[in-house]
Symmetry: C2
Subunit: 322 residues, 2 copies
DNA sequence: ATCCATAAGGGAAGCGGTTTCCGCGGGTAA
DNA sequence: TTACCCGCGGAAACCGCTTCCCTTATGGAT
């Protein structure tokens, strides 16, 4: 048995070639496939990365997830995608499950909420997992004591604001997503800061918070228009919401020259909409690759933070304002 | 240990309430979380469904995947998404891995290729897995000896063809996807059959096969137009391709009144494009729910086949032809 | 010819659980 | 009282591997 075990997987002990061949032949003949669970028990660890996401979209793909999947493929790391649920307690549950699985690497994607009461529980679950030898990498906002890759939300939004002001826009509304979402808040703030540099502000009643979805944005834009609020541009904190806004405006027959729309993320689907959407491009594949590289290098004493920055892409949805 | 084990998970043996409470309290204090791998070894089976997909899209979400994820959540079944790769040998590898995992249910999404040399290997891997007590459900074309849910590709395309003829279209091109893909072939055939009932045909040079992607469709449509082929409508075998075609036509300034486009699937993202796309709606959530229900009911002697049918949705991309 | 390092095989002890089986105590029926 | 059954705790076997450790064989250096 010992020899067979050594022959069938990369052990550091060598097996005489003849025996290895015999083992392999027998395994093949018997259709043997290792019981991974038993391996995990014996080894005390399950190879691969467990990717925890909150939801599985049914409309637009999440480019980060796609990026991580692809990066893991390249590294030949088994990838195990778990859709946890939106609550932070769901996340805790899944982290514990991963701990029970003795997973090698746990990676989470998804923003945190400000003042989420579940955060301490999540942190301690992750710390416990780490204490038992796991590696954790967060793709989200900085601030938790783990290796993190995040992206320049506030800077990107800031630059977008600049760009839009230069295009001649003055009266903005903001579709801000969940009021407590950190990503949304950073983007909103960055945008407001960018405007502030040009002495522009956005009245509170034009900063709409709520659901973080395309449909919610559609409805919210409708409200905005119906309330007769005078605006010349809408900034949505992500592309999915921007598309919702765009579609509402189109359905209502309002052209971009009257109300422009800009988003954030530069998801692939933007290629297929009209007008093409102005947005902040983020290099999602880099984010994913960076996350994996953090995960596969030795853990440093201090948690590392890697920030990936984006850049503004001006397209047809924000024509120059004459 | 025995008592603890019985207290911590649903065993059929009862534990005195006082002891159960003590066990739970201790577990809580110690931050105990069961080693799932060890459980899998001891029980000989790992609860939950392993969902095998070929790829993870980075543009439009796969509604089937979203549906299965959601359905599994509802059933409280742990769901484990594995992105295998496009080759059928990749699928075999992952089936064997699932076998090694002693996974309870394996579900695969994704079309088969006609005459794929890997199919026998896949079938035997799945059979072996089933022989060891696993349940397999395929979401794909019928024809393999396993419980299968498939959707009415050919019927839907047939009806779409009817509808388009009624709208006044006569000269079609077809973006047919992979030449050997069964889904694509069924849809193409169904469409041609529908046309045939009205004595219409599509010359071979207007049935374009190739990549199954949005980008490939964009390029292919360009070729079609450049070759100066006279058509009044394009049928793409899925929505992603249809969107590629649509976007090309828009970029080229060709309106729907000149060349119409129809797709297949009715993915959510269609809401956000202009013109809105005519397509065949498929109830993806039903497909997913059906698959899960096949998986969780006792296995019958004969493999079951459940066919979900769709219906045509006419939208702006195929205006009535005057 | 002797010694020692090294390669390689194999027995057996885990890994962390589950489950069978045995035994004990107490309640119920005769 | 006595016999029997049932509920429940705990010892130990077992799940399918990995790996430690012991042993033997081999070959080069002295």
């Amino acid at each position: 048995m010992a020899t067979a075990s050594r022959a069938l997987n990369g052990s550091d002990r060598s097996v005489k070639e003849a025996n290895r061949a015999r083992v392999l032949a027998a395994a093949d003949e018997l259709g043997y496939s290792a019981n991974v669970a038993a391996q995990a028990v014996a080894r005390g660890r399950q190879r691969g990365v467990t990717l925890l996401v909150k939801t599985m979209p049914d409309d637009y793909a999440n480019p980060m997830v796609a990026g991580v999947v692809e990066a893991a493929r390249r590294e030949q790391l088994p990838l195990n995608l778990i859709v946890a649920g939106t609550d932070s307690s769901d996340l805790v549950r899944e982290v514990n499950a991963a701990r029970g699985q003795r997973a090698e690497i746990v990676m989470t994607i998804g923003g945190r909420q400000i003042g989420d009461r579940g955060t301490p529980a999540l942190v301690s679950a992750l710390q416990r997992y780490e204490a038992e030898g796991g590696r954790v990498v967060l793709i989200t906002q900085a601030g938790l004591p783990f290796d993190t890759v995040s992206y320049a939300n506030s800077q990107g939004a800031h630059e977008l604001a600049q760009a839009m002001v230069e295009l001649g826009y003055k009266k903005f509304a903001i579709l801000g997503g969940y009021p407590n979402g950190m990503t949304q808040r950073d983007r909103t703030r960055g945008f407001l800061d960018g405007l502030a540099e040009h002495n522009l502000t956005v009245p509170a009643d034009r900063i709409i918070t709520g659901d973080f979805t395309r449909s919610a944005a559609y409805v919210a834009t409708g409200d905005l228009v119906r309330r007769g609020i005078e605006i010349d541009a809408i900034f949505a904190v992500n592309d999915a919401m921007a598309l919702g806004a765009l579609t509402f405006l189109r359905d209502a027959g309002i052209p971009s020259s009257q109300i422009a729309v800009a988003g954030f993320d530069d998801i692939k689907a933007l290629r297929d909409v009209t007008p093409s959407l102005t947005t902040v491009h983020l290099p999602w594949d880099d984010v994913a690759a960076e996350a994996l590289s953090l995960a596969t290098t030795a853990r440093p004493d201090e948690p590392r933070l890697s920030v990936v920055s984006g850049h503004v892409v001006v397209r047809a949805s924000t024509p120059p304002r004459t």
